[in-house]
């Protein structure tokens, strides 16, 4: 049946009649387009798909998806989705959140959802700024960031979102960007296929309040130098001429020139290697620093671990087998009854 659905549903079937209200030039448009385009690939019926968001610019997303959807409250999309997933494990659930929504006000729910490993997909739109409230620094803004609320520079040390997720025992972490639709589409598809919480961080440009935050990674002139696209089973190669690679020097990653390196020293990307994932998530240098490591994109880590909602179903089935289907009269009577006449 899912094959049949793939053939009948098109990206446009997932668009709604609502006017899209993001600023012209916003990176969110690109993500919406890619998400709509992969929906038919899920092989799921429209009515079995749910988009849940919190508050923030990107959280308007559900209004533009012709599926079931909820625009909830700030930071709580993850908690709403947890309850939905426990109640309806069979649904395809997508969480739309941002750096403020997921990592500041909703940080607690995010880490707890991750450790429970519900089978949901999280799209974390990271633009390193508060857009909807018109330009305050966010928990991913770099140190010293000058914004409306930090006129002489932010004092906050930023979160490294994927490292945070890995620290919470995430079973799938990946990074992509709004300006690379092809890569984005590939990562969204991989995330949708992962059974468990898929954490996908999307570098998304806010052209109004934080324009160019990720320019070094997305601009043609610097992209090849500054980014590292991870490919499973392949060495980590980057550079304008693909002349550089990453090697591990007694567990410390170093940039090496391929021409000078032993092939055996190069790091080979292995999504199942937790240690390597820890190393990769720490590739978080300021691109302005001398000798900095490139910023990785792609799937960092994927692991199969039990899902909370499946375990819950098992407990319910098990209890029902053991005790029999609940008998209300028996429950109301209890064990110690007396009769008054």
């Amino acid at each position: 049946m899912s094959e049949a659905l793939k053939n009948t549903l098109m990206a446009k079937d997932f668009a709604t009649d609502q006017d899209i209200r993001w600023c012209p030039g916003c990176g969110d448009y690109s993500v919406l387009k890619q998400v709509q385009s992969i929906m038919p690939e899920l092989g799921r019926k429209k009515e079995d798909i749910v988009f849940i968001s919190g508050i923030g610019c990107s959280s308007r997303f559900p209004y533009y998806m012709n599926t079931y959807g909820m625009h909830s409250i700030h930071g709580r999309a993850t908690a709403v989705a947890s309850g939905l997933k426990i109640s309806r494990p069979e649904l395809s659930v997508w969480i739309i959140t941002g750096d403020g929504d997921a990592l500041s006000i909703g940080g607690n729910h995010l880490i707890h959802m991750i450790r429970r490993n519900f089978n949901v997909n999280v799209l974390l739109f990271n633009n390193e700024i508060y857009g909807l409230t018109k330009g305050q620094y966010s928990p991913t803004s770099p140190e010293g960031k000058v914004t409306k609320s930090t006129p002489i520079g932010s004092l906050d040390h930023p979160f490294n979102p994927l490292k945070l997720c890995l620290g919470a025992d995430s079973t799938f972490i990946a990074r992509t960007m709004d300006r690379d639709p092809k890569h984005q589409r590939e990562i969204l598809l991989q995330g949708s296929q992962h059974v468990g919480t898929s954490m996908i961080e999307i570098y998304q440009n806010c052209n109004v309040f934080n324009d160019g935050a990720f320019e070094l990674f997305t601009d043609k002139g610097s992209k090849l130098q500054e980014t590292l696209f991870l490919e499973s089973g392949k060495p980590m190669i980057f550079g304008a001429e693909r002349e550089k690679a990453i090697a591990l020097d007694s567990s410390t990653p170093r940039i090496v020139n391929i021409s000078e390196a032993n092939e055996g020293d190069l790091m080979i990307h292995d999504e199942t290697n937790h240690f390597q994932a820890q190393v990769l998530t720490s590739f978080f240098d300021n691109p302005k620093d001398e000798g900095h490591l490139p910023r990785p994109f792609g799937v960092f880590y994927a692991e199969d671990r039990y899902r909370y909602e499946e375990a819950m179903e098992k407990q319910i089935t098990g209890a029902t087998e053991r005790m029999g289907k609940g008998d209300l009269d028996k429950l109301l009577r209890g064990n110690n009854v007396w009769t008054a006449s």
Partner: protein, 614 residues
């Protein structure tokens, strides 16, 4: 020696000791045995927030009060006939509540120099002449327990843990009750530790036999079974009854329960009870915090389950924003508040009714919601069932207010059969047959919208916390639309009054000089007080409200039948404000904010004052 048996109509006993002494267990066992015997009963556990407060101190005293009778028992009693004091601190905290000529059962081992010092006594109160008014039975419970266990191979510490059983056995003898029920309980409780079964049973029997053989008292007492209305009964605690009411509503509506909550005193026992009933399809989820608990319930309700959460005041405060979302989404869900002393952390293990205004007004914006309240431990069942019914039939979050007093208190419950309970019809949309666009916020004559859940083909829709356009549910910033929607949401709640019973005068005079208008856990004590005043010839009526929002349609008319309206509450005056606001009547508050329930005496005094003035 054969002792004569004296008949009593009702007896109030306070068990008191250190919070590690097993007082709550002793009280519960004594309660269950008397309930099974057929007495009417009301209980009042009263314990400190600390799990093990420093031993022997006044702060660490745990108490369990119960009244059992052959006549109707609606309160755990004002003063007690019997005080069991396991140590000097327990004695000091409770002695003022012992009736003149009452009986004190003392564990003399709890009155050594150290115990006296910790309780703040310079000399032993047992040697005080003031005790002459009472009958004192001194037993060295520790010594007797250890003697009974001399061959058990247990260490002294382990032996001493059974001391409560000695006292319980002794009281069973004194009140002419069988010990078999408790033996059965001990066997189940210690199924995995057979040596403890033997120890506890031996000490229980030792206590019983000590009552028989010693000559510390000459007569036993008997409290005959009460003549309760015919039917089958069980004993039940409030939180347990609430949980069963929720399960019953789930069964009668055909919707499985999703229960998302975060542990908090005194609401956690609802979670514990529901977690046992997975074979009823109950999905219980211990969330990471109160906010997540509430939001997970919203997700579950969106998914078509019966979403429920419970907490106490501080947790409800945290849930406030999400409850507002529930109101905006117009999804069914139940929020239980087992109230405790506030504000802030307040008095976690003490009772209060001070969250009524929070339930009424504690959200941003115009956010009305229905409020149902429970009046006794067993009534928590009915109130929980009603809260679910209103939520599902009117597509709205509903508050259920209970409090620590009835949540932990217990009483006999004439439980219903499943057939006797009404069925509940959730407001699901019918299966789609036409191409007509689904309007999520189109309403029926009660202003209730239809419920379409994920998986229903052709009903895909988006909802959220932003203001909605009438009918379509699309985001709308239109000024007139907002004005109308605020009023629609208000009227929708007001219309629930058409779907709840009319108010009755629960007790006493239908018309008269004084009306006692109460809600929640004050039911039993107000009823008792009103009956006593009626017996003295005073024209006092008692109206007790289950439905606090909206009020029953006839309430305003009923209020006109009385000269004076008194609103007794365990708070600083909350229902009284709402009554004055809503009905423009000169209602007066009677308030107590001590973390403990009213005594009957306190209510009667105020009623009598009204008559003296009149």
């Amino acid at each position: 020696m054969t002792k004569k048996v004296e008949e009593k109509q009702e007896v109030t006993i306070v068990f008191a000791g250190d919070s590690g002494d097993g007082i709550q267990l002793t009280g519960t066992q004594f309660t269950n045995t008397n309930a099974l015997y057929g007495n009417d009963i009301s209980t009042f556990p009263n314990y400190p927030a600390e799990i093990r407060a420093p031993q022997g101190t006044l702060a660490g005293v745990s108490g369990f009060q119960l009244k059992f009778g052959s006549i109707e028992v609606a309160t755990p009693g004002d003063d007690c006939d019997v005080l069991v004091a396991m140590n000097a601190a327990a004695f000091k905290v409770n002695i003022a509540r012992l009736k003149k000529h009452g009986t004190i059962i003392i564990n003399s081992d709890g009155f050594n120099a150290r115990d006296l010092k910790l309780a703040g006594y310079d000399t032993s109160p047992l040697e005080d002449k003031s005790l002459n008014d009472f009958r004192t039975i001194q037993i060295d419970v520790t010594k007797m327990t250890r003697t009974a266990l001399i061959d058990s191979g247990l260490g002294k510490k382990e032996m001493d843990r059974s001391r409560n059983m000695f006292v319980l056995g002794f009281l069973y003898y004194m009140y002419n009750r069988k010990i078999e029920g408790t033996i059965e309980f001990i066997k189940q409780k210690f199924a995995k530790k057979p040596e403890l079964i033997d120890a506890n049973v031996n000490v229980l029997k030792a206590g019983y036999h000590f009552g028989d053989t010693s000559e510390v008292f000459t007569s036993r007492y008997n409290v005959k079974a009460a003549s309760l209305p015919a039917g089958s009964y069980r004993n039940i605690m409030g939180n347990q009854a609430a949980a069963l009411g929720l399960v019953a509503a789930s069964q009668k509506s055909g919707l499985d329960i999703f229960y998302g909550s975060y542990p908090i005193t005194p609401a956690s026992d609802i979670l514990h009870e529901l977690a046992k009933h997975k074979n009823f399809g109950v999905r219980s989820f211990q969330a990471e915090d109160e906010i997540a608990a509430m939001c997970s319930v919203i997700g579950a309700s969106f998914g078509g389950k019966l979403g429920i959460t419970a907490s106490s005041g501080p947790g409800i405060a945290l849930k406030g924003e999400a409850i507002g979302l529930g109101i905006m989404l117009e999804l069914p869900m139940v929020i239980v508040n087992v109230q405790r002393g506030g504000p802030s952390t307040g008095l976690p293990t003490k009772t209060e009714q001070a969250d009524l205004l929070q339930a009424y007004y504690g959200r941003n914006g115009e956010a009305p919601m229905p409020i149902v309240s429970a009046s006794t431990p067993s009534d928590c069942f009915n109130a929980a069932f009603e809260a679910c019914r209103i939520a599902l039939e009117h597509m709205t979050p509903v508050f259920l207010l209970s409090d620590g007093y009835i949540a932990n208190g217990s009483e006999p419950w004439k439980f219903p059969t499943a057939d006797e309970l009404p069925s509940i019809t959730p407001k699901f949309v019918p299966a789609k047959t036409t191409d007509e666009t689904y309007l999520p916020y189109k309403r029926d004559e009660n202003l209730v919208r239809d419920w379409a859940i994920p998986g229903m083909k052709g009903y895909e829709h988006r909802i959220g916390g932003l203001e909605k356009e009438i009918d379509t549910g699309n985001v709308s910033y239109d000024p007139d639309n907002h004005d109308k929607m605020v009023k629609i949401r208000e009227e929708k709640i007001a219309k629930i009054a058409d779907n709840i019973p009319l108010q009755i005068v629960n007790n006493g005079a239908e018309k008269g000089d004084v009306l006692m208008l109460s809600w929640g856990s004050t039911y039993g004590v107000v009823k008792t007080a009103v009956k006593e005043c009626n017996a003295k010839g005073m024209a006092v009526g008692h109206i007790h409200l289950t439905y606090l929002s909206p009020f029953p349609k006839n309430l305003g008319d009923l209020l006109k039948n009385y000269e004076h309206i008194i609103v007794p509450e365990i708070n600083n005056g909350q229902l009284v404000k709402i009554i004055r606001d809503k009905f423009l009547v000169d209602a007066k508050g009677l308030n107590k904010i001590k973390g403990i329930p009213f005594s009957t005496k306190e209510i009667i005094e105020v009623i009598e004052q009204k008559f003296e003035v009149a």
